[in-house]
Symmetry: D2
Subunit: 340 residues, 4 copies
C-alpha cells in the first residue's frame, strides 16, 4: 500500500518529542503526515538534507541544514520550536519562494503571561517577602505587614513590547481595571489603540507606570533599551517585572537600583544563566527572583506542539498557517540577533 | 443658622478615621451629614447612647451601646466596619423596626481576592519556593525548576463559600478559563448556576479541584468543616488556599498533610495569631505563608469608607443601601459566632 | 405514609402553570414541596385562606386573600409572578413578621433587554423602515439607503432606571463600547459607578444620549417623568426606546415629536393597550412599533418559574431567597402604584 | 524647502475622499506622506503609472494600472479600499518583491456585524413583522404576538465563514451565551477552537443552528455553497441571515423555502442588485429584507480610512501593516473571483 501522505521532518532537538507533543497531538500528527525522523537526538545533516528533497515542512530548532532552495523543492514551511526565529537561515530565499518561516514562540505566551502576573502580585503584595519573614520568625501581622504593599487594581500598567506575551497578559490584567500603556516601536499607534492599549513613549511609560512589564523579544535594536537613565525614572512605588530577556535591560543599573530600594523588581531572566552565585541581586530584599522558569512548565510546553500540528494541518491543505508566528520581511533582520 | 442635616455617629475604633476614609470620602461625608464623634478613640458609651437619641445611623465596630429601641427612635442603620456583623446586637429588635444592620465586609473583597489569586499563583508556579532557592544558591534553572509546577489555565477550581470574596475572585479567574465549582450551603444551586458557578458537594469539590479556595466566613455551622478526612482527599497536585478563616479548617490536619507533601497550601490565616514561633507549619516547604495580610492593604481599606458613604447617601434619602452587606433574619444567627 | 413536605400554594392565575414552569422545573417543584392547588384557574379565596393556615409560601398574582397575619402563621414568602409587587398587600405586617414579599419581575429582564437592543438596532440601522421600503418597491440601495442611519458602536447611551432590565441590557451593550449613563433616583451615585455606569441628571442624560432606554418600573413618583420639555431636548440623531412603561412618558408629546421627525423612537408599550386603531403614532415613519411583545416570548417565561423554584429551594431550607426581587420597606410604597 | 516625505498615490474612486477619510485621518495622512492625486475622480492611468515610479504605496479600488514591477521600483504596498482584493493584479510579481497587497475589507466588519445582529433579532423577535402589523392595524398583543418568536439567548449559532465579519460578530453575540460553531474550509480546526468557536461540517452546522450567519467572502470555491439540499435541512425555527454575498447561496431555493415558511431569513444581499421589482422574495412574510445596507453607514466608512492611515504609518516606517487584510499566496487565487 502506497503511503501518499506528505512528508514532514521532525527534528526538534534540543527539545524532546514528548516535551512538545501531547500524546493526542502526536497521534494527530502521525495521522496527518509521514513523519521523518521524529526522534529526540539531532538528525544528521546529510540525512536531513536528503529528506528535505521531498518534504513539505520541517520542524527544527535553528537552521543547520545549509542552503534551502536546492535542497527542498517542495518545502512549504520551516517551523522553529526553540522560541526564536533561526538566525542562520536565508530568509530572502524563503520569502521569494513563499516558504513560510514560522516560530512556535506564541506557544509560550500563556504560561509566561501567567508567571508575569504571578510575579507582579508576589512583588506588589510582598507575598515572597512575607513568606520569608514567616520562615525567619520576624513577620509582622495585619496592617503592620502591609506598610509597603499595594494593590494591582486600577494601577497604570506599562508594557515594553506588545507581542504574543503582552497579548496573553492583557486579558489576565483586564479584571483588575488597570489602564494599559505600551511602547512598541514596531507597531503603529492605531494598531495599539485598536487593541485597547494606549501607545506611549518609553520614558513616559517608565515614569507613570506602577507595574512595568518588560516583554520585548530581544532584537538588534533593543539591547539595554531600558538603560540607567530610564530606570532612574521608575516610580518609587513601582515594580519592574523582567520576563522576556535581560538583553533589554541594563542589568547592572537594575541591580543597583533595586538594592538601593528605589523600586521593586521581579526578575525571571538574567544576563548570564546560571546566575553567578555571588551576584548581588541575590540579596536584594526588594526583588522577587526566579531562575528562568516562566516558560518551561511541563504541561504548558504541549501548547507548542498543538500550534505546530494545527498549522501543519493548514499547510498540508495548502492553506496559510494561523497560529504560529510568521516571519515577515520587514522585521526578520531585526528579530534574528546574530551572534558576535 | 440651623444645621438641619441628619446626625450620624462615627465611632469606628479599633479602626482609625483616616484608615477607612479617603480625604475625599471624608469630605463627602461631612457635606452629607452632621458627624457626631468622628474620632479614632472609642466614644464613651453614655455619650453614644445620648447621641443615638437623635441619630439616623451609627458607624461602629461591634455593638457596645446596650439596647437599641429605647435609645434610638430615629435610627435607620447600624454599620459595622470591623468586617463582621456585631455579635452582641439584638437583631430581632432591629428587624422589627426596619433598622438596617450592615457590614462593610464587602469592602475587603477586592483586596482579599487579589491576594487569593497571588497566593495561588505563588504556590502553583512555585514563585515563593523558587525565590527562596535563588537566595540559598541552590536554584534549578528552566525545565529543572519546573518539575512540580503547574499552570492555572483551564484547571478546575473550587470555592468553599460563595460570598463577596468569591464574587470578587471569580472575574480574576475568568481569563484563565478555569471551570469553577462552589460549595455554599446557604445558596441554592440555581443561584450558583446563574452566576456561572457549578454547585458541588463538599467532598466532590475537594476531590476534583486543582485549586481549592477556602473563602467562607466563619459561622456557627462551619467550624473545622474542612476536616481531616476531607483534607485527605485533596489531589496531590492541588493547592489549598486558606484565605477567609482558619476556623473553617482542621488546622492540625492541614499542617500535617502539607508537611508530608501530600499537597500544597497557601495560608493567610491561622488559628492563633500571631502564630507560635515554633509552629511546625513555618517549616513546610510546600506552603506559602502570609501573616494575615490579605485584607489590610492601606489603600484598599478606603474601599470600606467608600461603601459606607455611598450607602449613607442612600439611607439619608430614605432609600435602601446597596453596597454594604445586609443582615438578613434567615442567616444572622448563624453568621454571628458568639463567644464561648 | 406521612407527607412531611412543606406546603406551597400555587395560584398563578392569570398566568398558566405551563406558561411559567418548564416540565423540569415543575418536576423539581413537586419533588421539593407539597403543591397546593397548582391549577390555571384562580383558587377560590376561602380555600386559599384555609390553605394559608399551613403554607410556607404562596405563588400568586396580586393579593386577593385578605389579611395575612391571622391566616398564615407559618408563611415565609409571598411570591408574585405578575411582574409587579401586589398593590393590595399589607407590607408592614409582612415586614414585621419577616415574611418575604418577592416579585418574579427579574425573570422578564433578559427577554426584555434583548428586545430593547433589537428595537434600538432596528431604529438606528433603519431595519424596519428599510424592509418596508423593500416591500413597497421604493428602497434605496447601499449608501443611498444609509443617509440617516447610524451605528450603535461607541455611542453614548442613557438608561432611565437602573433595575433588572438595565442590568440585563448592560452586558448586551458592552461589546459596542457605548459609554452608559443612568438616571435612577433610588440608587446612590456610588452604586451606579460601582456598576460601571455614570450617574447623570435626567436632563443631561436626555440631551447627550444617542440612545435613550426608558427602563424604569412605574412608580408613584415617575408618572410622565419624561415630559414634553425634556423630550424637546432629545438629540435629533437620537432614538428613544420605550420599553418599560408608557406611564413614564408624556406619550402625546412623544407622538407629536416623532411624527415631526425630531428624533426616532422604538415603542413597545402604550398608554392604552390595545392601542386605538387611529392613534397617530401608527403612521410615524420614524418609529418602530411593537405590540407590548418584549416580555412574553413563550420560552422566556419559563425563567419566571426557574427563579421561583430556585428561591423556594432556599426558603424551604430556611435560607434567604436570592433570585427574585425582594420588597424593601424603603421603596415598597412608591413601587406599588395603587389604583385611583 | 525640500519635501522628503514618501509619496503615496490616493486614487480611491469609486469611493470619495471624504467618504473614507475623517477630517482628522485626512490631516494625519497629509502630515505623514506626500499625497499624490487625492481626488474623487479616477486618476488617469498614464499619470498614475508615472507617479508609481516614485511612490511607496497606492490606495486604489481594483487595479487598472498595468504591470507593477517596471512601473514601481519603490512600491511597498497596494491598498484596495473597495472591500475586495483587486482581481486584475499580478500577485506573483507582488509576492516575489515583497509588495504588500492589502484590502480595507476589515474596515467594514464592525458595521456589518452590527447589522447582522440587528437583522437576526429583527427576525427572531419579529420586530419587522410586528411593526408591519401595527401599521396595518392587525397586530396581536402580548403573548398572542409571540407565538412564533424566539430568544437569541443560549441558542446554537452557526457561522459560515470565519473572517473579519465573524470575528466582529462573535463578541456581540458573546453576552447572549450562544454556543458558536463555524464552517470555514480555509482555517484549521485548532485555530477555530483557539478562538472559542467549535469547528463544524457544513451540513451539521445547517441542521443544528438556530441562527445561521452567512459571512463568507465570495470565492472561486463557494458559489452556491449553500445549495437547495442543504437549505432543506435548516431547522423550522431557524433564521438564515444572509449578510456577506448572495453568491454563496442558491438564492432561488432560499426564496422558495422562505416563501413556504420552512424557516425565517434576513437578507441584505441579492444576486442582482437592485432587486427586480417583481422578485417573489419581496412578498415573503418570513423574511426581513434590506437593500444591501449593512456596510455603507456613513460614519462607519471612516473606519476604512483609519485602517489605511494606521497601516501607512507602519509601512512608511518600514514595518509590517497590522490592520488591513494581507493577501497571502495560499489563498489569493481563490479569493479573487475573476469575471466570466
Amino acid at each position: 500500500m502506497r503511503n501518499d501522505k506528505q512528508k514532514v521532518i521532525l527534528d526538534p532537538s534540543f527539545r524532546r518529542m514528548d516535551e512538545i507533543f501531547s500524546p493526542s497531538d502526536r497521534e494527530r500528527l502521525h495521522d496527518l503526515v509521514d513523519v521523518v525522523w521524529g526522534r529526540d537526538e539531532p538528525m544528521p545533516v546529510a540525512a536531513a538534507r536528503a529528506a528535505l528533497g521531498s518534504a513539505t515542512a520541517i520542524v527544527c530548532t535553528g537552521w543547520r541544514y545549509g542552503e534551502v532552495i536546492p535542497a527542498a523543492p517542495r518545502l512549504r514551511a520551516i517551523i522553529d520550536v526553540s522560541g526564536h526565529f533561526p538566525a542562520e537561515l536565508d530568509y530572502r530565499e524563503c520569502f521569494s519562494r513563499n516558504i513560510r518561516v514560522l516560530s512556535a514562540a506564541p506557544g509560550f505566551a500563556r504560561q509566561v503571561a501567567e508567571m508575569a502576573l504571578g510575579l507582579a502580585l508576589s512583588a506588589t503584595r510582598e507575598i515572597v517577602a512575607g513568606d520569608a519573614e514567616m520562615r525567619a520568625g520576624r513577620e509582622r501581622w495585619l496592617h503592620a505587614g502591609n506598610e509597603t504593599t499595594s494593590l494591582l487594581f486600577d494601577k497604570p500598567v506599562g508594557f515594553i513590547g506588545y507581542g504574543s506575551i503582552a497579548r496573553s497578559l492583557q486579558p489576565l490584567l483586564a479584571p483588575f481595571g488597570c489602564p494599559v500603556s505600551a511602547y512598541d516601536p514596531w507597531l503603529s499607534d492605531g494598531y495599539l489603540r485598536s487593541n485597547s492599549v494606549r501607545p506611549a513613549d518609553l520614558d513616559e511609560l517608565i515614569r507613570t507606570s506602577a507595574v512595568i512589564f518588560v516583554l520585548a523579544a530581544p532584537s538588534s535594536e533593543n539591547k539595554a533599551l531600558l538603560g540607567r537613565e530610564l530606570l532612574a525614572q521608575v516610580r518609587p512605588d513601582a515594580v519592574v517585572v523582567l520576563i522576556s530577556r535581560a538583553h533589554v535591560v541594563d542589568f547592572d543599573a537594575l541591580t543597583e537600583f533595586v538594592l538601593e530600594g528605589r523600586f521593586k523588581a521581579a526578575i525571571d531572566v538574567f544576563p548570564d544563566e546560571p546566575l553567578a552565585p555571588d551576584h548581588p541581586i541575590r540579596d536584594a530584599r526588594h526583588a522577587v527572583l526566579s531562575a528562568h522558569r516562566a516558560g518551561s512548565v511541563r504541561e504548558g510546553l504541549w501548547e507548542l506542539g498543538e500550534l505546530v500540528v494545527d498549522d501543519l494541518e493548514a499547510i498540508i491543505e495548502g492553506l496559510p498557517p494561523q497560529r504560529l508566528q510568521n516571519a515577515v520581511p520587514e522585521l526578520i533582520d531585526r528579530l534574528t540577533v546574530r551572534p558576535g
